[in-house]
Chain length 216, copies 4
DNA sequence: TATGAATGAGCCTTCATTCAT
DNA sequence: AATGAATGAAGGCTCATTCAT
């Protein structure tokens, strides 16, 4: 009972913190702001989280998890593996570029982690997980087609994620420059190019690469 | 005389600020720290830069310029265009992944700009310039070979830059994960894949793509 | 309990502020001084009053009220209306010329209000109230005698107050020049002269003016 | 030559200071503001006036003198002494209520002098002079008519000045409340009442008071 | 479990003053 | 006679943290 109530309050605080952090960034978000947003007193915050750092840790955990779950949810399947990939990329870009509170918080805390030794491992873990997820997906859906990537298998997901992140940064800075469609098409082309496949239209099947053609 | 002295001092301050910002980040870097690092009094800072914001503006300008100039310097030429590209990518990644003060500052201020309307346009400008530079380079060195990219011409440089940025973030968070050689090779493969060229070894020439082979 | 504590602390701060302001004036009174005088930390000041301005507002309110209450208390009554007036003037001058903290604060903030648009209306309100109080008093005690003032009814209290203020300034600048007795006698003469009454000795009754004598 | 150049600059500084002080008040007027207004460097200010205090002293001197000279100029003469008085009062009120820079500075520094022992004597001197001037004028123009004031001769000018000052304060705080005509008429009535004279219209002559009438 | 009150360190900024030139 | 540069003290304010209740 008591335990549950506490958990609920703690959760409220974290949620409020995410909202505030998303709006003002770590540097400018005070515990006062967060307490107000959570509808509690500053004292209550410190009851649940001894220090600001502890709260931010929880926030980072929650935000990363949220982003990850959305990412997982984005891995769609379909009759056609290429179509599935396309749809997944659409989802992926959507959840990242949409400037959701959690995405903003992760981006902000990522920057903070450059100077914060305690934060860094957590984000590294987050990246690892994301890379592994994507890696598994690609393995399952593309490797199985018999094609081999032109880059090392462990680089592939990191590249896709890196490209997503890098483009998201650009789109955050200048939202109008990057068109969602263009980005997705580019990502798709990239993914397939790295897989030694020809460019692709939505409904196209797998096309053998130059090398494969040569071999054939 | 005086004029020059002033310019020198201002430059000293900016340099000190870059060092401090690189080490602590915008949020935690106080004018006190910067003044100390610059070997001047806090009052002197305000003599040269009316507000912290003004100083940061100057810092951003300087850091971006520095990063850009290193980037420009990275565009090498060579007898073989592909070799030139390879060398350029080595340089590019090197200057970014090296965690130079300027690169860190740009990354940090990039994050700050998410919540700072005055900063954002400056970074957008910086990205624009970088994209244009890379675009010009690619046009000159690859377009001229008669091949066409698989993605829109204006997306191409943004993708390469995005990938660089995204990977840099990952390498900042977990330096040991990404191997410089692997990254360069991956970037190279990416660039060429997008150009409808086969993967490349240093000394190889241009290889026609699947489509081009077909046409032939 | 807590609520009361807060009110008490706030009051302590305001009182301390009045003391400090009276001694150093608005410009030279720092929150540090006030905090020290109040026996609290600077942070506590800001807990109770968000800004210095807010604190000064409270100070002004309190000081004006205090002066006003002393003024009200000065309106004595007596068997003889003229004696009552005399006593009232003695009191009035006493409370003003005595250099009480509140009087000094009001004088100081009055000067500040010349350049402070937010303060001005408050002082105007204070003057209005004072004028109305005095007006009512005069109406009740002198009008009722059947005499009419030689100046417009709404000017009369403002003149008496103005004279009081003006003389107070002189006495603040050079305390020894103005003798309390002389001032009171002069004020009395003024008040009565303006009421078309002959000069007065404590025990004298009402004497008809020239005009009234003529009419008779 | 050199001496003159210096005097000119010093004068420029004082004039600029008066303008700035009139606009912002002593507390908020920085030497920077003054230097800028004077079109000189801060260093130059300190060349001419070692400290801010020294400059303010000069400002006080100049402003008081200016106000005094305007006051002197206000003492008009005329065929009819009462008409002369009236005109003088019009002038007097005009120069004070007009919010000239010098008047504002004197008012502001008057407030400062409450806490500044070095300033106070200068303002006392200023008041003395003003009182003596007015005293002389009244003596010459009214005493000579054979009437005697109802208040001590040395109180009379201080009362008129006090009333002027007090009303000016009120008019500064709430300009719309006091009508210039009404003020002048009231002052006139006051002056004459204290002189045991009936109220006056511009063109009226001297009218005996009640006491004088009785004696007659 | 939660609050109101209070603290104290630190931040950005202002400003009178100094000084070499 | 004047300037640009630099100083350092102080000011108002923010904020994470503590604590009695």
């Amino acid at each position: 009972m008591r335990y549950k109530k506490s958990a609920i309050s703690a959760r409220q605080i974290v949620d409020a913190a995410i909202r505030v952090l998303a709006q003002k960034g770590y540097a400018r978000a005070s515990l006062n702001d967060i307490a107000q947003e959570a509808g509690m007193s500053k004292g209550a915050l410190h009851y649940h989280f001894a220090t600001k750092e502890a709260l931010i840790d929880a926030v980072l955990e929650t935000a990363c998890t949220a982003v990850q779950q959305r990412t997982i949810a984005a891995w769609t399947t379909g009759a056609n593996p290429l179509e599935a990939l396309h749809n997944s990329l659409v989802e992926l870009w959507g959840t990242r570029a949409k400037r959701t509170d959690e995405a903003l918080v992760v981006a902000d805390l990522l920057a903070q982690s450059l100077y914060n030794d305690r934060m860094r491992p957590r984000l590294a873990k987050y990246y690892d997980l994301a890379a592994r997820q994507l890696g598994d997906y690609l393995t399952e859906h593309l490797y199985s087609l018999g094609v081999r990537p032109r880059v090392p298998a462990e680089m592939l997901p990191r590249m896709v994620i890196g490209l997503l992140d890098g483009l998201v940064l650009q789109s955050f800075v200048a939202p109008e420059v990057l068109d969602a469609d263009a980005v997705v098409r580019a990502l798709e082309t990239l993914a397939l190019s790295l897989f030694d496949l020809s460019p692709v239209h939505r409904d196209s099947g797998v096309v053998p690469s130059a090398e494969q053609a040569e071999r054939a």
